[in-house]
């Protein structure tokens, strides 16, 4: 049995845990710069999480075990997803645990339980958030599957490690199908991770909240776990995108020397993704909830165009 993949695995999970808040910090910093404000620094989200861990928990009187169990489950599921996606190397022992479809289902577990926790307290806000979140998630799903379908047409696989290997080893070709799939994937990522224009992670305005409405009653370590998992979710969705569209630089099997280069490649890619995301968020306002179907409909359209162009052009 080789020890090396297990070390990489643990190293990667540690990187996900630490870099996810820093990535959020980077996005917030960029946003501040673009808006001419002073930023709180790259490490502020990390400090926020640490602070929350030391605070006491205040629970609503009616909260059941679902409410207390959810943060741990959401965190655990997200960490598992972080161990599956090839971020630094394709040589991960956990990578065969789930292909992309199962990976999306792992995020669905987290969403399912957060939605239940939102309904557990019995406030109108929680139910509102759950109802809207499940609506958006159901509309995002077909587009997501179509994007996966298009990607799997090229690499004949839905396993992310395999996709990375196929793309990096093949000759570089500009594929129109992949271009459409990237567009679709960006729109889906925005919807799934609750960024502007679908949801605003910074709002606590009653009628516009979606994700925040569900977790409104959380505090202390529970809130810390949920926030941390949320940050990891954005990080991991970005990683899925990088692995399926821009995998160059991810270390191959049994190649320890590629690892430092892989880290640098990853950092550069994430910096660029951050800039793109901030530009999107700055250019758009949050849309009405019933405009979201159109938004996700266009994601579905892009993905379908990708699939069709594969059959017609490639």
């Amino acid at each position: 049995m080789r020890i090396y993949p297990f070390i990489i695995e643990i190293f990667q999970i540690a990187i996900v845990l630490i870099l996810a808040p820093i990535f959020i910090g980077w996005i917030r910093m960029l946003k501040c710069w673009f808006q001419g404000r002073t930023s709180a620094g790259l490490f502020q989200p990390l400090r926020d999480i640490m602070k929350l861990f030391y605070k006491d928990v205040v629970l609503a009187e009616n909260a059941s075990w679902i409410f207390r169990f959810t943060p741990y489950l959401v965190f655990a599921v997200t960490v598992l997803a972080g161990g599956i996606i090839p971020i630094l190397s394709v040589d991960l022992p956990l990578s065969a645990t789930a292909d992309v479809i199962a990976l999306i289902a792992l995020f669905a577990i987290a969403r399912f339980f957060i939605a239940l926790a939102g309904m557990d307290i019995g406030t109108a806000f929680g139910g509102m958030g759950s109802s809207r979140e499940m609506m958006i998630a159901s509309l995002a799903e077909p587009a997501m599957l179509m994007a996966i379908f298009t990607v799997s047409l090229v690499s004949k696989s839905t396993s992310l490690s395999q996709i990375v290997q196929t793309i990096t080893h093949a000759e570089f070709i500009l594929r129109p199908s992949m271009a459409f799939a990237i567009l679709a994937f960006i729109l889906i990522t925005i919807a799934e991770t609750g960024r502007i224009p679908v949801d605003n992670p910074a709002t606590h305005l009653e009628l516009t909240m979606i994700h925040e409405a569900m977790i409104l009653e959380y505090s202390g370590r529970h809130l810390a776990l949920i926030e941390w998992a949320g940050m990891m979710k954005l990080f991991l969705f970005t990683s899925i995108g990088i692995a399926s569209f821009f995998p160059w630089g991810i270390a191959a099997v049994d190649n320890l020397f590629q690892l430092p280069a892989a880290i640098i490649f990853m950092a550069v890619k994430f910096c660029i993704v951050g800039i793109v995301l901030v530009l999107i968020e700055l250019g758009l306002a949050k849309m009405r909830i019933f405009r979201v179907p159109e938004f996700l409909g266009s994601a579905f359209l892009f993905a379908s165009l990708g699939m069709i162009s594969y059959f017609i052009l490639e």
């Binding site: 205040v58 598992l80 292909d99 792992l106 406030t123 759950s130 799903e141 179509m146 839905t158 379908s304």
Partner: protein, 673 residues
């Protein structure tokens, strides 16, 4: 004891149970204990026989010298019937345990004797449907099953809705049965060239090469007939009426396994009896499956009655199973046996899974109904505090049906997706473009199912009680709990050990299609599921379960090293101070966004009325199935119209009737001398 003896013993045990029921009529409690333990035992024998038949690849047939003269009853036990025997037997075993607790609640209120009698007959009918090896005994068993379930639906017949539902069920079941009868008639006729009756055995049909036209006619009739039983849209209309009003243990059996006999029928007729078919048959099944799955779940989300919601969700799951069968048929007709085996395995796996989680959910709904005397979710809420066991078990069912790993629903959905993802290798460009769109509809369905069951669990068990006065609610007894616990455990086991199950099912695709997936699916041991090849896709339920539990525990322990207090506080009311339980999101408001987006598929009447003193507002919402107006009302109107016209023949005078007979005789003499 051989497999066949075990299965026959189980049927004989049911018959003898029927025989001893009269002894206990006066002692109803004892009657319940005795009969449900006996049906439980007979279900175990059916399961054992079925399990062993599939794993031992048995193919035995016997001829019983009973029945009409020259038409003896043929029975056959092959892996296909063994598989369905296992599914039916397993759920009936769990439900029989549950029933002891559930039916006891009726004692003292009404006689349960006829419920118990028809329960036994119902089980017997289902067992013999899958055993029959000729058209004659198949249809008799089919009718026994339908009639018994009709009487079970009518158990509480003082309510109008029950009688209405029972009538509707009877009508649709018989329209379906006629279609099945005609289909068998065509096949039996084609087998003998329309001479004599010897073609009525399935063996004769199997050995016949049907002409294209007759085969298509037989298939379409059989599909129509079985679709009526399975609740395929647009023939689903009876299902959400009949399943909710039956006693919950019966609803669990009807939704969980009775619908599956129709799936059995479709597989038996297409893959076994006809055997050779063009691809468009598969496309028909696939398209109906897609419509059924999507519309079924959309209707389910709109419901406020928890049992109606579950019934509509059964419609959805039947759709998912048909999608797998349709894909398998398309792959078979293009001679891609490996992919076809994958799709068929997905369909069969989903059949087994749906039996388990839908059984569990109906039993859970029955427990809620038992405790609260309420089916309307708008009035429920907060039951997790008073019924912790039921809540946790119902949650397992919800997680399974929402296709979340590591539970069982996910495995079969995932296999279905894998079959879809392999469709680009089909040699038809049209199908290459259209089948992926089908895959996205399945994705939409699965996601909507999650939304639907967040609603079902969240509104029923979480939050506060929404009704005006809260009744005394208690947890259900241990019989009901253990029935549900066993079902929940099988949901988890089927999700964590898919390779073992696939290994067991594998003989079915091997015999029906000629290829198997277990060799590749279990290539890396029981831990990894790799349906076609490990480069293609892989999934490991056990690892998901173990890693998630490990991280969860680790996080929990690390966060509890330092003692920190948990304060309980009233919930944040935004300074409003008058938050009441009626302000929670309820079943109607939860589904509002989806209702608005997909509203064009329903006929929705929404009214806000101002009335009463103090300007109180009343909100009325009526969401109806569009198919009532589109399909059923016209058919009902036409049949009433035709009946009225024909009714004119009935003069009520003996002379007129004598003239009718006279004319008939003359006509017969002229044409059939």
């Amino acid at each position: 004891m051989s497999q066949f003896e075990s299965v026959l013993f189980s049927i004989i045990l049911l018959l003898s149970t029927l025989a001893i029921i009269p002894l206990f009529i006066r002692r109803q409690k004892l009657l319940i204990y005795v009969t449900f333990s006996l049906t439980g035992i007979s279900s175990i024998f059916a399961v054992l026989g079925g399990l062993w038949t599939v794993s031992g690849r048995v193919n035995q047939s016997i001829i019983l010298p009973i029945g009409l003269p020259d038409l003896p009853i043929h029975l056959r036990l092959d892996p296909l019937s063994g598989f369905f025997l296992t599914v039916i037997g397993l759920l009936s075993f769990f439900v029989s345990i549950y029933s002891i607790g559930y039916i006891k609640a009726f004692v003292g209120k009404r006689s349960v004797t006829h419920l118990v009698i028809f329960y036994c007959i119902f089980l017997m009918g289902m067992f013999s449907v899958v055993l029959s090896d000729d058209a004659f005994s198949f249809l008799i068993s089919w009718e026994v099953m339908a009639a018994a379930s009709y009487f079970l639906v009518m158990f509480e017949d003082e309510r109008t809705e029950n009688r209405r539902a029972g009538f509707l069920y009877l009508v649709v079941a018989h329209v379906g049965a006629i279609a099945i009868l005609l289909s068998f008639g065509i096949m039996a006729g084609a087998a003998t060239g329309f001479k004599g009756f010897s073609g009525y055995t399935f063996d004769a049909m199997r050995q016949t090469e049907f002409s294209v036209g007759w085969a298509a006619a037989a298939f379409l009739l059989a599909f129509f007939g079985f679709a009526a039983k399975a609740g395929v849209i647009p023939l689903h209309i009876w299902l959400p009426e009949a399943h909710p009003v039956a006693p919950s243990n019966v609803s669990a059996l009807m939704s969980g396994v009775m619908l599956k006999t129709a799936i059995y029928g479709i597989i038996r007729v297409t893959f076994d009896l006809i055997g050779d078919f063009p691809w468009w048959w598969g496309a028909v099944v696939l398209i109906f499956g897609l419509i059924t799955a999507l519309m079924g779940i959309l209707y389910a989300i709109m419901q406020q009655d928890i049992k109606r919601l579950l019934a509509y969700s059964s419609v959805e799951n039947i759709g998912v199973i048909l999608i797998g069968i349709g894909l398998a048929m398309i792959f078979t007709s293009f001679e891609m046996p490996l992919l076809s085996a994958l799709a068929l395995t997905a369909a069969l796996y989903h059949t087994l899974n749906h039996a388990m989680f839908k059984g569990l959910l109906f039993m859970g709904a029955g427990a809620v109904l038992h405790a609260t005397k309420e089916r309307n979710m708008e009035k429920m809420g907060g039951l997790i505090h008073k019924m912790p066991w039921t809540a946790a078990l119902f949650l397992v069912g919800c997680v399974s049906i929402s296709a979340l790993p590591p539970f069982n629903g996910f495995v079969s959905e995932w296999l279905t997706f894998q079959a879809f993802l392999l469709s680009p290798s089909l040699p038809s460009p049209l199908l290459n473009l259209l089948i992926p769109l089908g895959a996205t509809l399945v994705a939409l369905t699965a996601a909507l199912a999650a939304a639907c069951f967040v609603k079902a669990f969240g509104v029923t068990f979480l939050g506060h009680w929404r009704g005006h006065h809260s009744p005394h609610i208690h947890e259900v007894d241990w019989f009901m709990r253990s029935g549900m616990i066993l079902t929940a455990i099988s949901c988890l086991v089927l999700g964590v050990a898919p390779t073992l199950v696939i290994n067991w099912i594998d003989v079915l695709p091997e015999q029906l299609i000629g290829d198997r997936i277990a060799a590749s699916a279990g290539e890396f041991g029981w831990l990894w599921l790799t349906p076609i090849a490990h480069e293609r896709a892989s999934y490991s339920g056990p690892i998901v379960l173990i890693v998630v539990l490990a991280v969860l525990l680790l996080a929990y322990i690390l966060l509890h090293v330092r003692k920190s207090a948990i304060h309980r506080a009233p919930l944040w009311d935004c300074g409003f101070e008058k938050v009441t339980n009626r302000m929670q999101y309820n079943a109607t408001s939860f589904s509002m966004p989806i209702r608005r987006i997909f509203g064009f598929l329903f006929s929705i009447k929404e009214q806000v009325l101002k009335g009463g003193k103090g300007g109180t507002l009343h909100y009325h919402l009526k969401v109806r199935d569009r198919f009532w107006g589109w399909l059923y009302m016209p058919v009902a109107d036409i049949s009433f119209y035709v009946a009225r016209k024909i009714g004119r023949l009935q003069q009520g005078r003996i002379q007129a009737y004598l003239i009718y007979s006279f004319i008939t005789i003359i006509v017969l003499l002229v044409f059939f001398r």
